[in-house]
């Protein structure tokens, strides 16, 4: 049972996330009929499985919420903001009580009852006001005869037949006749078995499919037969109703035949609707796999790639044609396998979208700011472990944009901007990285204010001369915050430095650009993957290094004597002048210089070149962390094991070039 509950929790988490997403969509378009349907379906599923796994309180809450949305669906009433608010609150609450199903924590219990009574008030209003039959606009009322045969074990599956009957009767007017004939004498009675069957006569505007929907989850435990008795509302026919009720008192099944005979004039052929059980769940195209298993798979593939490198080396050393063929073939398959496995671990940024939207919705209300949130390229995929770790920093940046960036509406209008602020979240691939940009059109960052703040906090001294990017960089210093007052949204000064640290922990970079009055853009660069990269194997002196292949634009060969001594110089290549960094100098390599030097052009923020002694070839590098002893050496993103068992360092070209150009810059100053 325990593992089933875990399955339920995982499923419920997903359902609640879906629900939140749809609700936010509804919030923007109250007329959206499909969304109401979708919400209803999610609630229904949640209620069903909650009941099945013994999450009584969840079942109870969702049951009532479902009733609200059902009545909206039926009466075509408009959704109100209040209902959406209430449902969102309920979703939050449900997320909590999934892990506290007995309402053990008093706060949960209090909130639960609060929500339940709030729902109850909403329930009373529209349902009482919009009596479905009196509503008149509904289509034709038909009468159905439903036999609801329960299996003895239905209680054990967590279903409550009375809920189901409640749901059915909510569809219209109904007469429910219990069939108690199956109840054994007390001595034989098992308390956890169900002996009662029900007959229902239902006059409703709903289609048989709708009625069947109610029984969706109980289908295995009961036999449902739905027969259409008439195209008219038979229950408003007093004679028919009285004969039914009269019979009901005798406590035995009426049966279809008898009903039919009462309907003397009824010539309608009853179309028995036996629900084919195999239609119950449409084929799912995805399965749920625990992330542990995926991690295991990735580890095995890393080992396979390393073993493959040995095999390739061996094949090259022993020139046997069959062996070489086999090895090349294996290499191809390994590569495909690796790519496929990577794909499995990729998750689109979209999975976080709901959280972003929710945050912006709540915040903009709280701070009374009107904000349009636009996403672009949100289908961009990232490694799942990265998604998990990027979510908090992103939420923090968004929170800052709303709180500090976007001005209040009046101020915006006064400054000639449009009333609604805009926040754009944009994601895209480029080179070796994935970029995520958060852009707002708010007031921008006042560099003077930052300077004064930094001075007062003692982060800089009065005579420090800083360039604009350097001033903006101060925002990421621990203990820095420019907000005059601390709100519960932001301004405690523990924000951006943590953001920066978290992003750097996954080998990313964060950059801030801002124009006063026009807005702020924060750009995050993340590596594509953390575990295996396509690289180019190069040699400098006696050591081998791996360069990420995606960073490389082009390679040139020049005579070594053409290189001037020193760390950097300019070289004309293809008719353009590029900065060239001599890695032999940078790495302090004093071995004998080769005759020719390879100049590799790399493009990150700007094109730049680095020199290496020779290029060996392509290499799939399984990244191994350099131990904490080298923790601060971030011009290498890790190390990898080569086919011969030796270790090669993997360069982080973006950081390396940044570091080298800073160093060159410093010597000029």
């Amino acid at each position: 049972m325990d593992h089933l509950q875990h399955t339920f929790i995982a499923e419920a988490d997903e359902l609640l996330a879906d629900l939140e997403h749809i609700l936010l969509k509804c919030d923007m378009d109250l007329n959206n009929k499909e969304s109401v349907e979708a919400i209803f379906r999610v609630m229904h599923t949640l209620k069903g499985s909650a009941g099945m796994f013994g999450f009584i309180h969840i079942g109870e809450l969702t049951h009532h919420l479902e009733t609200i949305f059902d009545s909206i669906r039926e009466t075509h009433a408009l959704l109100s903001k209040e209902i959406i608010d209430l449902t969102l609150q309920s979703v939050d609450h449900l997320k909590n009580i999934i892990h506290d199903r007995e309402l053990g924590r008093s706060t949960n219990a209090v909130r639960h009852h609060g929500l339940m009574s709030a729902i109850a008030t909403i329930l009373v209003e529209p349902v009482a006001g919009g009596d479905k039959k009196a509503g008149g606009k509904s289509d034709i009322i038909s009468t159905y005869y439903i036999i609801f045969n329960l299996s003895a074990g239905i209680f054990k599956s967590g279903n409550n037949p009375l809920y189901l009957i409640d749901d059915v009767t909510a569809l219209g007017q109904a007469v429910v006749i219990p069939d108690l004939s199956g109840i054994p004498p007390l001595s034989d009675l098992a308390p956890d078995c169900c002996y009662t069957n029900f007959e229902l006569i239902l006059a409703t505007t709903s289609s048989p499919d709708k009625i069947k929907e109610v029984f969706l989850f109980a289908e295995d435990q009961c036999g449902i037969t739905i027969e259409k008795l008439s195209q008219t509302d038979l229950l408003s026919d007093i004679r028919f109703k009285s004969s039914v009720l009269e019979h009901a008192l005798k406590m035995s099944q009426i049966g279809l035949k008898r009903l039919k005979s009462w309907l003397k004039n009824e010539t309608n052929k009853s179309d028995a609707i036996a629900r084919p059980s195999n239609k119950r769940e449409s084929q799912r195209s995805s399965i749920r796999v625990s992330s542990d298993k995926l991690d295991g798979l990735m580890n095995l593939i890393s080992e396979l790639v390393t073993a493959q490198a040995r095999l390739t080396l061996l094949a090259r050393q022993n020139n046997i044609p069959e062996f070489s063929n086999l090895s090349e073939n294996m290499e191809k398959i390994t590569k495909q396998l690796r790519d496929t496995a990577f794909n499995i671990c990729l998750v689109p940024l979209q999975t976080l979208e709901t959280r972003f939207q929710r945050l912006l919705r709540d915040l903009s209300r709280e701070l009374k700011k009107e904000i349009d949130f636009i996403t672009d390229g949100i289908e961009t995929e990232l490694d799942k472990s990265m998604i998990e770790r990027i979510s908090d920093p992103l939420l923090h940046i968004l929170r800052n944009s709303v709180d500090h960036g976007i001005e209040a509406s009046e101020e915006r209008v006064k400054n000639g901007k449009k009333k609604n602020g805009t926040i754009i979240l944009k994601a895209f691939h480029s080179g070796t990285g994935v970029y995520i940009q958060i852009k707002d059109d708010g007031r921008g960052i006042d560099t003077e204010k930052i300077k004064t703040q930094a001075l007062s906090k003692g982060l800089i001294t009065g005579d420090t001369i800083l360039s604009e990017p350097q001033i903006l960089g101060l925002v990421f210093t621990p203990g820095f915050s420019t907000a005059e007052k601390v709100t519960d949204v932001s301004g405690r000064g523990v924000g951006m430095d943590v953001v920066k640290r978290n992003i750097e922990a996954i080998q990313g970079e964060v950059k801030l650009e801002s124009r006063p009055g026009e807005g702020t853009t924060i750009t995050i660069r993340l590596p594509l993957t953390l575990s295996i990269i396509d690289g180019m194997r190069v040699k400098i002196g006696a050591s081998e290094y791996i360069l990420p292949l995606a960073a490389i634009d082009k390679c040139y060969e020049i005579k070594t004597e053409k290189l001037q001594p020193g760390l950097s110089q300019k070289l004309a290549l293809d008719g353009h002048l590029f900065p060239v960094f001599n890695l032999r100098e940078a790495f302090g390599e004093h071995t004998e210089k080769p005759k020719h030097t390879q100049v590799i052009k790399i493009h990150h923020d700007f094109p730049a070149c680095i020199t290496v002694d020779s290029v060996i070839g392509e290499y799939q590098a399984v990244m191994k962390p350099l131990t904490s002893l080298y923790g601060e050496k971030d011009d290498f993103s890790g190390a990898t094991i080569l086919g011969d068992g030796s270790v090669a360092l993997v360069m982080d070209t973006a950081k390396l070039i940044k570091k080298l150009s800073e160093k060159v810059h410093a010597t000029f100053q």
Partner: protein, 161 residues
């Protein structure tokens, strides 16, 4: 089996230059022949580089230059001791190149003499004590202190320069 009192500890002795040092065997995971060591650029000289230890990357230091005993070339007797030490509240593995590994000796606390504080060419705080064994002194090293926090910051400073 000789009788062992509970306080007796085993130490592994090794040579660095003309001296014999010893470290508690609890710190030593294994002893390796010297494989190809990959140099990490822009590191202080005592950081020899990294090696492949059955699929994971192990940093290797040169114990001689770390202790200021001058550099020599590796010989057939040179080997790497794989040590586990705690640094900044976290256990890390590190390899140390030594001139030769000798033997495991049993030492009772009573045998340990205080390290002479004057006239020593080694920094006193690294030395737990000394033991006299066959007319020769063996210095017991306190590994956790050798790789202490301030030392890694020196490492970083050199790397930054």
């Amino acid at each position: 089996m000789e009788p062992v009192t509970p306080t007796t500890e085993s130490y592994l002795t090794f040579d660095l230059g003309d001296e014999i040092f010893a470290t508690n065997v609890n710190n030593v995971l294994e002893i390796l022949e010297i494989p190809k060591i990959t140099k990490v650029p822009r590191c202080p000289p005592f950081m020899r580089g990294v090696i492949n230890l059955r699929g994971s990357v192990l940093p290797v230091i040169d114990a001689r230059s770390k202790f200021g005993l001058g550099e020599t070339n590796d010989t057939v007797n040179s080997c790497i001791m794989v040590l586990e030490i705690s640094m900044q509240e976290q256990d890390i593995k590190i390899g140390a190149v030594v001139d030769a590994v000798q033997e495991v000796i049993k030492i009772t606390p009573a045998d340990i003499l205080a390290a002479p504080s004057i006239g020593s060419k080694y920094r006193g705080e690294f030395i737990q004590g000394m033991v006299k064994c066959d007319e020769q002194f063996i210095m017991l090293l306190d590994l956790d202190k050798i790789f202490s926090a301030d030392d890694t910051s020196i490492l970083q400073q050199v790397a930054e320069a």
